[in-house]
Amino acid sequence: MKFLRWLAGLVFLSAVIIAIFHYLDIPAGSKLTLYLLLCFFLALYRILRGPTAADRSVATDILGILVVGFCAIMAIFSGKDWYMDIAIAWALQSFIGTLALAKFLEGRGFDE
């Protein structure tokens, strides 16, 4: 049963990757953005399914780092500079939010 679940996941991921690579008639930058969107959905699956609150915090941290990379790719393939400003601001906010979540998990107040 476990092997079947493993095989189904592998076939699904390979099918999505090959379908994006072969059967979509869009430019290369949009394909790279779609691969990053697949990463977003994997992290969102962990946020939905996570057994404890700490799992959801980890997935939120990963999602914050992924958004920085997404902004960088959009800065290249749309040619607009201000996406990098969004990336820097998002990295800052994600770091502070993760530290606040860790403090909350530890069970202490914010002012210690």
């Binding site: 290369a28 404890t52 700490a54 992924l66 990295a91 860790a102």
Partner: protein, 110 residues
């Protein structure tokens, strides 16, 4: 030529991101997931940002990309360490096949 090198860096970074998120949904335990995903996704995003720097050169956007790399490399391990510590104090169990737990041994000795 520069564009080709930057595209190679971006593809390598997206591959790292994909494998990091695969570890995030595949591995059995919070600490294993943290171990797999945080380092891999940080390195992949830094690779994407370095590709952006190679594309733009020393303009405003390129220098911002270098700043973002330095900031990510400084802050992502700190955030991961704080999350692991908070989760351990919150009482999240290890996987049943894990062999050692040095942190709780230290807490017992204190």
């Amino acid at each position: 030529m520069n564009e080709v090198i930057s595209l190679v860096f971006i593809v390598v970074g997206i591959t790292f991101d994909l494998f990091g998120c695969l570890g995030l949904i595949r591995l059995p335990d919070l600490y294993n997931r943290l171990q797999a995903s945080t380092k891999s996704v940080t390195l992949g995003t830094c690779s994407i940002l370095f590709g952006v720097f190679l594309k733009f050169g020393f303009t405003a956007a390129g220098v911002k990309a270098i700043l973002c790399i330095i900031f990510l490399l400084l802050t992502a391990p700190v955030a991961a360490h704080a999350l692991a510590r908070g989760a351990h104090k919150n009482g999240v169990k290890l996987w049943e096949n894990s062999v050692c737990d040095k942190y709780s041994e230290d807490q017992d000795n204190l």
